[in-house]
């Protein structure tokens, strides 16, 4: 779901903790020196505790950090030197993590009347973090703004122009935010109960991250109003998005599409029915790989990862794995994880949450 960040290898190695190799096990040190990318993902450990882990390309564990509750997505600062993990909704914390593993996470607490939705982005200079949040007493989505240079103080919020904002991305212009407003109203008094399924109206909203001004908003056709738009991946200015169907699952409905401000229209991807039905109405994560001109999306309910060629508009490949959900660009293909402990070829005792974020040096990106 995240576009790889491009940083120099020196900074990259510093962010892995390579400067502290003497403190590490041989395997850990070797993994750090050899990897060309660092992934991060939330997990649940066998003892029931939750945390965030950083991993090598091959899925070897680099560092792990305990969280007070279940985390969801993670986002890297552009220089790779900081990582934020957001609590899974309706959680009220975000953890600021030092990916070198040298200091414990510090916590950002949601303000009164708000909770996090599990996703956010940094501004290009790393000065601000934007987080999708729920103004639950008013059934209104907001984008919380945090000043990273002032103790992550919450300095304001924008209207998300929709209910249930979930994933959020920053377009390549470094200024325009795009928000996936899932459309589902929830309230922490009744955790995870969906309060408005019959009348839900998801949308994709583009906002100016400096002024909060609404730039554009796109809705699905009325007969698709139960497709909750949850996750996105960028391919240039093109926003690929993935949905979760709150309606009838017997009739297979397209769940993945694209939109851009330039095109001004939503186009759903044509996925063959025999593939589409295996998504079981639920796409949990989506990632774009510009090198391969592919997107990949996963359905943990269907146990399937689908690679889709954006040029030919054809399915390029399928991978089956129970509970597969995490996906991120890796080389010309994709890294993946599942809720059974697999992270690429490596099997862990941790159960991996829905998303993988990635930080990689420019040299690796070009290889």
């Amino acid at each position: 779901m995240h576009k790889p960040l491009l940083i120099d290898r020196r900074t990259f190695l510093a962010s892995t903790g390579a400067a502290f190799l003497s403190c590490m096990s041989d395997a850990q040190a070797r993994a750090i020196q050899q990897t060309d990318a660092i992934f991060a993902s939330a997990y649940k450990a066998p003892d029931g505790r939750y945390g965030i882990a950083t991993l090598s390309e091959r899925g070897e564990l680099l560092h792990s950090y305990v969280l007070p509750e279940r985390g969801h997505d993670t986002v890297w600062r552009a220089d790779g030197g900081q990582l934020i993990a957001f609590a899974r909704r309706p959680g009220t914390f975000a953890a600021v993590i030092d990916p070198s593993g040298q200091s414990a996470p510090t916590m950002i607490n949601a303000v009164e009347g708000r909770h996090f939705y599990g996703h956010g982005v940094y501004s290009p200079d790393g000065a601000f973090v934007f987080a999708t949040e729920n103004d639950f007493d008013n059934a209104r989505g907001v984008i919380g703004i945090y000043n990273t240079r002032d103790g992550f103080k919450r300095v304001g919020e924008f209207d998300a122009h929709g209910i249930g904002p979930h994933d959020m991305e920053l377009l390549p212009d470094g200024r325009t935010l795009v928000v996936a407003n899932g459309g589902i109203e929830t309230h922490p008094d009744f955790p995870r109960a969906k309060l408005n399924i019959a009348s839900m109206k998801p949308n994709l909203t583009f906002l100016d991250s400096v002024t909060g001004k609404l730039i554009g908003s796109f809705e699905l056709p009325k007969d698709q109003h139960k497709l909750s738009i949850r996750h996105m991946a960028l391919m240039g200015d093109n926003v690929w998005f993935a949905c979760q169907n709150e309606g009838d699952l017997v009739a297979t409905t397209p769940l993945v599409g694209q939109v851009s401000l330039e095109s001004g229209t939503i186009d759903m991807a044509e996925i063959p029915e025999d593939v589409g039905m295996n998504l079981r109405g639920y796409v949990g994560s989506i990632a774009a790989n510009e090198q391969g001109n592919e997107i990949a999306f996963t359905s943990p309910r269907g146990g399937i990862l689908v690679r889709y060629d954006t040029r030919t508009k054809k399915v390029a490949g399928i991978k089956r794995s129970d509970e597969i959900c995490g996906v991120a660009a890796s080389g010309k293909s994709f890294a993946w994880s599942n809720g059974e402990g697999a992270f690429n070829v490596t099997k862990h005792f941790m159960l991996w949450d829905n998303h993988i974020s990635v930080s990689k040096p420019a040299s690796a990106h070009k290889s």
């Binding site: 649940k44 969801h72 899974r88 909704r89 599990g118 059934a139 899932g182 589902i184 309230h187 008094d189 009744f190 955790p191 995870r192 109960a193 969906k194 309060l195 399924i197 019959a198 009348s199 909750s228 949850r230 979760q244 309606g247 009838d248 699952l249 017997v250 009739a251 297979t252 025999d274 039905m277 295996n278 079981r280 639920y282 949990g284 359905s299 943990p300 309910r301 146990g303 129970d322 509970e323 597969i324 959900c325 995490g326 599942n338 809720g339 059974e340 159960l351 991996w352 949450d353 829905n354």
Partner: protein, 361 residues
């Protein structure tokens, strides 16, 4: 069970040298029995009760009086009980055409539904006074919560005289609408057509839009029971227990107005218990885990016994620490059953953990 029990079958084969006939039941047997022995009869009972509710509403409106109102209120409580046996079957017909929301718009956190209901009663909005018109309106004014307010809410005594004629007419529209929806639910579960839920659930295949194999068949069953227990705990019990006895919120309970808060929870537990009994998982397992499968019935019995001992009205949980504690205990029992399903029975059937596919993330 062709795939799901592979590990177990291999183990048995090593011990006995045989594979065939290792288990008395497979996924198809389990699903078939759950549908035939539990789901279909439960939907029939619900439809029948909805019809008697509608009949009681008609009697009350024809000749408004206190006895007829009490009869209608009793029918409502019985309807709640029968609804509690069906409402957690959140696949198939309840997930289609907004049927779940049309039957039960809850939680209504900001009282939006209630505001609309009050408006209809106050204004006599004619478009809401017959079932056809009502079915086109907001789901919040169509179902059981609206009916509860009409029968038990402010000014419900007006139903004993002609002064409550509009209220009564709206009630008839609601009860007819509920009868229609429950009829659709029953018909859908009895439908044997190729795309019907009963057919799909019993015939997994690569071209089946919901069930590829026996693991998906059983996952759906575990999701009904485990998910149902979670709904009862997280959305039904915990909101009124809140953080402790001193902060209990009896009005956050479903159906508090008609004092059916205990009844709906008891019915939910009874329904899930009956599903597990119909499933008879012990016949599909071997070894110690069969005792685990049986242990859920002990826990269900604990929950039922405790719920039966809770005094009414439920509002008293705010002043009666014993009843508060009983609800807390039931909540723990429910979570305990859910944990057994997730951590012991689910792995015994080689089902995935569901960690990454929980609702809506």
């Amino acid at each position: 069970m062709r795939i799901a029990f592979t590990g177990l079958i291999v183990a048995v084969a090593l011990l006995t040298g045989t594979v065939q006939g290792a288990f008395a039941r497979d996924a198809n047997d389990i699903v078939r029995d759950v549908i035939a022995d539990y789901i279909r009869p439960a939907t029939t009972a619900l439809k029948a009760r909805a019809n008697t509710m509608h009949a009681a509403a008609n009697v009350l409106c024809e000749k408004p009086n206190a006895v007829a109102l009490n009869t209608a209120r009793d029918e409502f409580s019985a309807l709640v009980k029968d609804w509690g046996q069906v409402e957690l079957l959140r696949l198939g017909p309840l997930a289609q055409d907004n049927r779940l929301e049309r039957m039960l718009f809850w939680p209504d956190r900001r009282g939006r539904g209630l505001k609309q209901v009050r408006f209809i009663v106050r204004s006599g909005d004619e478009t809401a006074l017959d079932a056809a018109g009502l079915s086109e309106k907001s789901v919040a004014v169509q179902g059981l919560l609206a009916l509860e307010f009409i029968l038990f809410g402010d000014d419900s005594a007006a139903l004993t005289s002609n002064a409550g004629a509009v209220r009564c007419q709206y009630m008839q529209a609601i009860t007819e609408n509920i009868a229609n929806v429950t009829g659709e639910i029953e018909a859908a579960w009895y439908d044997d057509g190729p795309q019907a839920i009963s057919t799909l659930w019993q015939n997994p295949s690569d071209t089946n839009p919901l069930f590829r194999d026996d693991r998906e068949q059983l996952s759906a069953l575990f999701k009904i029971v485990g998910g149902g227990l979670e709904i009862v705990s997280v959305q039904r019990i915990q909101p009124f227990l809140d953080d402790g006895f001193d902060s209990a919120k009896p009005k956050s309970a479903l159906f508090w107005r008609s004092d059916n808060a205990v009844n709906i929870i008891a019915s939910n537990f009874a329904g899930l218990n009956a599903i597990m009994r119909a499933a008879d998982l012990t016949g599909a397992l071997e070894g110690d885990v069969t005792r685990t499968a049986d242990s859920v019935f002990f826990e269900f019995d604990n929950a039922a016994r405790t719920l039966k001992a809770i005094n009414k009205p439920t509002a008293d949980i705010a002043v009666n620490a014993d009843d508060y504690d009983k609800f807390s205990y039931v909540n723990i029992v429910g979570r305990s059953i859910e944990t057994i399903l997730r951590e012991q029975l689910s792995p015994a059937f080689n089902l995935s953990s569901g960690f990454s596919s929980l609702d809506g993330d």
